[in-house]
């Protein structure tokens, strides 16, 4: 397991340095994979026995017995120390454990318990590690703060210290507050974890089963090995996707194309839509339990699935399992009753109420419900071939959904009205690499870009949750590189579309917003001016919001904004892209539609705005320079007039000169602000004039061409 030890140590140096006992523990941890091997063998050897003793009951009994122990352990962290020096169980330990299990008649379950305990301990160790990481991070933050303070002090010795100090204090206070909040959050999270633990334990057991299953069926299930075993095991156990609130499940296993569905649901529906609609097995036949377990494990471990993992009954059962294990109703606790009541209403009223209720659902619930109902709708639509009607679905899924037949019937029959925005599209996961023939259209690039960024965010989230392995690091860099690649591609596509505006084309909304913090960084000593600057840049970005949309006709990163502002329908957006890509197309057409005129107008506007932008940028720069000058003036005057001792030591008292200077500075700044505001006003006026001119030009151009 050479992928574990060297990295972990490097990554969290402070941790291990402080706790020397950690080392031995670490080696234990990295040996984890070895633990598994004998256990697997054991399992294999005892497969038959288990079957005889009816595994399910055996597990259930075990669970009840082992849970109290675990609870006490997790509640008192001091106890963890005992398990810390946990080593590979020796024979004597086995004996001890066996003697503890005296009441157990069967040897088999005793060994099982032992296994479970091993796993639990490992889990605890991991948790401990995570806790330490958190502590380490907090320490780092504190250190950072101190450093910052020191640096700030050094930087601004010459400047008026009073204000600065206050600011600093405030900042520190805020940071501390944040920290406290974070700690609280962590606590809450841990509590949640404890709650979830019970379920996790189940999963551990299931995994044991699964391992056995794999050996039984000899399916090539090593496909999960995209990620090292140890790693997926941890992630699957600590962040399960079954039996947790829907929101969590979606976050942990998301579809990267903005559908708020857990991957397992999406894949199941995808499969059924593709292969199940005409099948007479759909929502009718019992699944192969082994296959189902296997699939479930794959999803839990975030491993990839392949067609041979799937068949129609398994997909149905997967869907059903996921839904029935959700802790809360799909319709949410609060609204469930209201939904049921609404079914009894008379028609016009009923639909309105339903719509209102549906709109109240959280996004992920809404999405899941919509997808399910649209899916059922299409299943029932094929009743002639698959012989499934609403009654059949209600029988199969009713208990899991916990809905009355009436409500379900209503949802299915009205699915297209209730969820008009849901389209059952097949999920295409983010690419693992960009193929040479990747489409060069802006739409497709940015669609993929969004997926990759979503994936990247998930990796970051998992890493922040403490799951840091070299494999994930690798994945992170890969995804990051793909994102970079796509961004470059997108840029070059955009450039080729509008060569005139090329140099400034890259300006995005983001840039505007991010200019601000930079300036802040460079002049943290003058909150007043930065405020002004912030205002300015805000106004500037406001001024350009309109312009930014127009160049982005070919940049679907902001399609929503685009549509919002211009009331374009998707079809029109497409058209725009087309015209963007080949303006020749426009020329060929004898007559111009209103839309095309609009497009041309927007394009021209865009160029104008970009010019304006650089102008403004220059102005902002000169303003900045002025501020720097003023600052040095003030510093000089302070030195000349004020007695240095007073300014350095008697910080609490303002000398009249200083007071005066401060007043002066404030006045100057106020004047600056006015100056700037008037500038901005002028620029606005210019802008309006420019737009009008450009529009006129565009119109003339068009007229002459046609």
């Amino acid at each position: 397991m050479d992928f574990e030890s060297p990295d972990v140590e490097k990554d969290f140096p402070g941790l291990y340095a402080s706790e020397t006992g950690r080392k031995s523990n670490e080696s234990d941890f990295s040996d984890g994979g070895d633990h598994e091997k004998p256990s697997k063998k054991d399992l294999l050897g005892r497969r038959k026995d288990k079957k005889e003793s009816k595994k399910d009951r055996g597990y259930a009994a075990l669970e009840g017995e082992s849970s109290p122990e675990e609870d006490t352990d997790t509640k008192s962290p001091s106890k963890n120390k005992k398990t810390k020096s946990f080593k590979f169980p020796t024979k004597s330990k086995e004996k001890r454990e066996k003697s503890r299990d005296k009441e157990k008649v069967l040897e088999d379950p005793a060994k099982h318990k032992e296994l479970n305990e091993k796993e639990k301990k490992k889990e605890k160790e991991r948790e401990k590690e995570r806790e330490k990481e958190k502590k380490g991070k907090e320490k780092k933050e504190k250190l950072k703060e101190k450093d910052k303070e020191k640096e700030e002090k050094a930087k601004f010795k010459l400047e008026s210290k009073e204000k600065l100090k206050d600011d600093k204090k405030e900042k520190v206070k805020e940071k501390e507050k944040d920290k406290v909040k974070e700690k609280e959050k962590d606590k809450v999270k841990e509590k949640e974890k404890d709650k979830v633990k019970e379920k996790e334990k189940d999963k551990v057991k299931e995994k044991d089963k699964d391992k056995k299953d794999k050996k039984l069926t000899k399916m090539p299930s090593t496909v999960t090995s995209g990620v090292p075993f140890e790693e997926i095991f941890t992630l699957g156990v600590a962040l399960p996707i079954f039996g947790v609130p829907l929101q969590q499940s979606v976050e942990r296993s998301r579809c990267h194309d903005d559908t708020a569905l857990p991957l397992v649901v999406r894949d199941s529906i995808d499969y059924l839509q593709a292969h199940g609609l005409k099948s007479n097995q759909i929502y009718r036949t019992e699944p192969d339990k082994i296959k189902l377990q296997q699939l479930r494990k794959l999803f839990t471990d975030r491993g990839p699935t392949f067609p041979y993992h799937w068949d129609v009954p398994v997909a149905c059962a997967m869907l059903k399992t996921f839904i029935s294990e959700l802790p809360d109703s799909i319709l949410t606790q609060e609204l469930h009753g209201q939904f049921e009541q609404a079914t009894a209403m008379a028609e016009p009223q009923r639909e309105a109420t339903m719509m209102a209720l549906i709109s109240k659902l959280p996004a992920c619930n809404h999405s899941l419900l919509g997808w399910l109902m649209r899916h059922f709708e299409s299943v029932v639509a094929n009743e002639q071939t698959n012989h499934v009607n609403i009654q059949t679905i209600a029988t199969a899924m009713g208990p899991a959904l916990n809905m009355s037949l009436n409500l379900l019937t209503y949802f299915i029959t009205k699915a297209d009205k209730l969820f008009p925005e849901v389209r059952l599209t097949k999920y295409v996961p983010p690419l693992l690499s960009i193929p040479a023939d990747f489409p060069e259209t802006a739409n497709e690039i940015s669609e993929e870009l969004r997926k990759q960024e979503s994936l990247l965010n998930q990796i970051h989230a998992e890493m922040h949750a403490g799951f840091i392995t070299s494999a994930r690091d690798q994945q992170l860099w890969e995804a990051q590189r793909i994102v970079t690649q796509l961004k470059r591609k997108l840029r070059s596509v955009q450039k080729s579309v509008e060569p005139n505006a090329a140099p400034v084309q890259q300006a995005s909304v983001e840039e505007k917003q991010e200019d601000e913090p930079i300036r802040r960084n460079s002049q943290p000593s003058e909150p007043f001016t930065t405020e002004v600057e912030a205002k300015i840049s805000q106004t500037v970005s406001d001024a350009f919001r309109g312009s930014k949309e127009s160049p982005n006709t070919s940049d679907p990163t902001f399609p929503v904004e685009f549509e919002d502002n211009f009331d374009f329908k998707p079809v029109e957006t497409k058209e725009i892209t087309e015209t963007d890509i080949s303006t020749e197309q426009v020329k060929e057409k004898p007559k111009f539609t209103e839309k095309e005129l609009k497009v041309l107008r927007l394009q021209l506007e865009n160029a104008e705005y970009l010019q304006l932008k650089s102008l403004l940028q220059a102005k902002i720069n000169s303003e900045q320079f002025e501020i720097v000058k003023l600052r040095s003036h003030v510093a000089l005057k302070n030195k000349q007039e004020g007695n240095i001792q007073a300014s350095k030591e008697n910080k609490e008292n303002y000398t009249p000169e200083e007071q005066e200077l401060r007043q002066k500075l404030i006045k100057e700044n106020a004047m600056l602000e006015q100056k700037r505001l008037s500038l901005v006003n002028q620029i606005f006026q210019e802008r309006v004039a420019c737009i009008q001119l450009k529009i006129e030009l565009a119109m003339k151009e068009i007229m002459s061409k046609s």
Binding site: D2, F3, P6, D7, K10, D11, P13, G14, A17, K140, L143, K144, D147, K148, E151, A154, K155, S225, G226, V227, P228, F229, L432, S433, I434, P435, A436, H460, M463, H464, I468, S470, A471, D473, Q474, L476, W477, E478, Q480, R481, V483, T484, Q485, K487, P503, V504, Q506, A507, S508, E510, E511, E514, D515, P517, I518, N521, S522
Partner: protein, 207 residues
């Protein structure tokens, strides 16, 4: 862990750090693609891969261009862990960015816990000599204090960009990593050919 099957080129990870607007991205793009981008657009994070020949051996270099802004500090940390060499960039026209290098250095040392981590101090924008506000002596002094090489570059004129390789030698094999990050780009799209297969080999190797 760093040992890869013979068929796969070795992979080194280099990370660019420094305050916002000092020219990390400009440097990176100059190394990667021989281009200079005039406009400023803050980076969140960008990663590039490049294949270079080093001591007769073909190696791959991953260059990560990080965000200078504090807003993305959390993301940055995830990358620091796997970085093998660091280029700490500041602008010679901006004393604040020079001061910030101290913080970056400390941050990196905290994460990596290794004083000898390959590290290069880079003063960028050397083409703006008339606006210089960080004296050369101060830069050299800091580099000497840290016992790291110092180099002044200009992403715009490509000045010294190739010279960086002569900068002196931190302990191998990493010195070559850093230096090669600066090699003039000859191979452009390695990723498509090797990126994916490389990962698989790496994974199966570690299992």
């Amino acid at each position: 862990m760093s040992k890869k099957p013979a068929a796969q080129p070795t992979l080194h990870k280099v990370i660019m750090v420094g305050s916002g607007g000092v020219g990390k991205s400009a440097l990176t793009l100059q190394f990667m693609y021989d281009e200079f981008v005039e406009d400023y657009e803050p980076t969140k994070a960008d990663s590039y891969r490049k294949k270079v020949v080093l001591d007769g051996e073909e190696v791959q270099i991953d260059i990560l261009d990080t965000a200078g802004q504090e807003d993305y500090a959390a993301i940055r940390d995830n990358y620091f862990r796997s970085g093998e060499g660091f280029l700490c960039v500041f602008s010679i026209t901006e004393p604040e960015s020079f001061d910030a290098t101290q913080e970056f250095r400390e941050q990196i040392l905290r994460v990596k816990n290794d004083e000898n981590i390959p590290f290069l101090l880079v003063g960028n924008k050397s083409d703006l000599g008339d606006k210089r506000r960080v004296p050369l002596d101060a830069c050299r002094e800091r580099a000497a204090h840290w016992q790291v090489p110092y180099v002044e570059t200009s992403a715009k004129t490509r000045d010294n960009v190739d010279k960086v390789r002569h900068a002196t030698a931190p302990p191998p094999p990493y010195h070559s990593t850093i230096q090669n990050a600066y090699f003039s780009p000859k191979h452009l799209k390695i990723f498509k050919k090797n990126g994916h297969s490389h990962v698989n080999a790496y994974r199966s190797n570690s299992i």
